[in-house]
């Protein structure tokens, strides 16, 4: 089998392969590194970091649904300072692009976080989470408002030279409008999608199964929705897309690339099988070789629509 070029380019960000680990689904890399060799994957996106540490939502935070799960973690994180002091040193040990995901409640806070972190050499790019459905003060209004997303993009762009990715909310009618404004305001790429808003109730207690009432739906159940969002962006906006949502196998990675993803992120699957990302990279390479492909990046937006 001939050697396949597995590298992909997400705007200015070059990755050794398209398989990244999604924010909030791999912590800061410590635990997962026992199962998947971080040196073999395309990139790792850290759990959303905020300026100050966040305790997050009270339990119950998780409930399983058909083919998916709802979570309302509430952006639990150690805060910028502790992240720099104790999490980055661990990630430094690996030869893997670290993409730092940032969450905030105000534009100002997004900017401050980025300003502090942009000097960290280990961080190769930023992913701005404008779309977390579980934080009441922030998140939602940004993610569902084109103007706010544009503003956040522009202001953060002004304080970092590093590749800037905006992670979009799927809970909107036309996600491509958001991708457009990101491009206009100087963003380098978009990630699509974050979780869908959902809920589940206990019929005996009549209470929500998760304490926060609403949670974010992830897993294979949402894959068709995520695919449609990526395709919408890909057909309407000239900006690199990182495809996310329900990826469970190498076949799903190919499918996401076909509809327009330059790279992908794996979320929920890590909980079920933390060794999957490493295996998927190998399987993708085999698939490309068997199909006589020389570059995996040729798959991106290779859809055939009559």
């Amino acid at each position: 089998m001939s050697k396949v070029d597995m590298s992909v380019q997400v705007g200015p960000l070059k990755l050794r392969n398209p398989v990244m680990l999604a924010s909030g689904c791999v912590g800061y890399g410590n635990e997962i590194s026992e199962y998947t060799d971080l040196n073999t994957i395309g990139g790792i996106v850290t759990k959303s970091i905020s300026l100050k540490p966040r305790k997050g939502n009270p339990p119950q935070r998780i409930v399983e649904t058909t083919g998916g799960m709802l979570n309302a973690i509430g952006l639990t994180n150690v805060g910028v300072e502790e992240f720099v002091n104790s999490k980055i040193p661990f990630l430094k040990k690996f030869d893997v692009p670290v993409i730092c995901n940032i969450a905030a409640s105000t534009v100002k806070e997004y900017v401050e976080c980025t300003q502090i972190l942009t000097t960290e050499e280990t961080i190769k790019a930023f992913e701005i989470n404008v779309s977390c459905p579980n934080v009441r003060e922030g998140g939602l209004q940004f993610g569902n408002n084109v103007k706010e997303v544009g503003k956040v993009t522009g202001k953060v762009r002004a304080v970092t030279e590093k590749p800037l990715i905006i992670k979009l909310s799927p809970n909107v009618s036309y996600i491509s409008e958001f991708a457009k404004v990101v491009k206009k305001e100087g963003g380098d790429a978009v990630s699509a999608i974050n979780t869908l808003m959902g809920t589940a109730f206990d019929i005996n207690t009549r209470k929500p199964k998760i304490q926060n009432v609403n949670g974010g739906l992830s897993g294979p159940a949402i894959k068709p929705v995520a695919m449609a969002k990526v395709l919408e962006i890909s057909r309407n906006v000239d900006i690199p897309v990182i495809g996310i949502g329900g990826i469970m196998s190498w076949k799903d990675v190919i499918e996401f690339m076909i509809v327009g993803s330059s790279a992908v992120q794996i979320g929920t699957l890590n909980f079920i099988d933390p060794s999957a990302p490493g295996r998927i990279v190998k399987e993708l390479e085999d698939y490309c070789a068997q199909n006589g492909m020389t570059r995996i990046s040729d798959l991106t937006a290779s859809y055939v629509i009559d």
């Binding site: 305790k55 399983e64 799960m69 639990t76 897993g219 909980f271 933390p274």
Partner: protein
């Protein structure tokens, strides 16, 4: 920690709808500690999607045991498995019971399926310390004393042993317990653990409890399983990786 196939080598029905599976898996059998748990992938489909946690019930040679009752979708499917079937197992996970310490008498307190971790605990402590076990259930069929020593039982409806909760039963023995240097090990439904927590606090007994929480990952990457700390309120602990066993003093149930 392994992600590995464990093969069902024996399927025992302990009582009404209570199953004990003997699973062949030398890797886990040789590394598991009492109170740790295993996260089982029920099948290869996405129904259920997530793994399901089960305590390491016991270890013997190259085998581990799990004990469970068909309850929701996952446990119902598990109960239908046959000898020879492989189950994708993640573990051993979490922090188990600190059973070594200075105490003289281990007081084991189990409610319902909370008996699951104690055969292994009992095996480890036996012959080194005294053991007194208290096992409760709603009714006779819910009382699981498998693998335990020196057992007194209680049932909510009085159909077996003491009539009342297992902590009520414990209250009746408080003087006897006070006369010894005891350490209490508890596992069961949260209301029972709460009662046990305050009983031990009141009587100044050192107590470890195995807690439960809905989990997505089982090994610390999803932040799905928080538990409130008694002292340091700014941050939760994680049931899956800081626990599931905690000192009763350290957590708020």
């Amino acid at each position: 920690m392994f992600i590995i196939n464990a093969q069902i080598s024996e399927k025992i029905e302990l009582g009404h709808n209570i199953f004990l599976f003997k699973m062949f898996c030398p890797e886990i059998a040789s590394s598991a500690e009492p109170g740790q748990f295993l996260n089982l992938r029920i099948n290869e489909t996405y129904f259920p999607l997530l793994r399901r946690p089960f305590s390491v019930c016991d270890i013997s040679g190259d085998h581990f045991y799990i004990l469970f009752s068909p309850f929701g979708e996952g446990t119902k499917q598990l109960a239908k498995k046959s000898v020879g079937d492989n189950i994708d197992t993640h573990g051993p996970l979490g922090k188990g019971f600190n059973y070594k310490g200075e105490y003289e008498t281990a007081v084991i307190v189990a409610g319902g399926l909370g008996s699951a971790p104690f055969p292994f605990v009992t095996r480890k402590i036996n012959n080194k310390k005294d053991i007194i076990s208290f096992v409760g259930g709603r009714s006779q069929k819910d009382v699981i004393t498998y693998g335990m020593e020196n057992v007194s039982t209680s049932t909510d409806d009085g159909s077996e042993g003491f009539e009342g909760t297992v902590v009520d039963l414990l209250e009746t023995k408080v003087d006897e317990l006070k006369s010894k240097n005891v350490k209490v090990f508890g596992c069961g439904p949260t209301p029972m653990l709460k009662a046990l927590q305050s009983f031990c606090s009141k009587n100044n007994f050192d107590c470890e409890i195995s807690t439960e929480c809905a989990m997505a990952c089982g090994f610390g990457i999803c932040q799905g399983c928080p538990i409130e700390q008694t002292e340091y309120k700014d941050q939760y602990l994680l049931v899956c990786s800081d626990g599931p066993v905690f000192n009763a003093k350290d957590v708020v149930l």
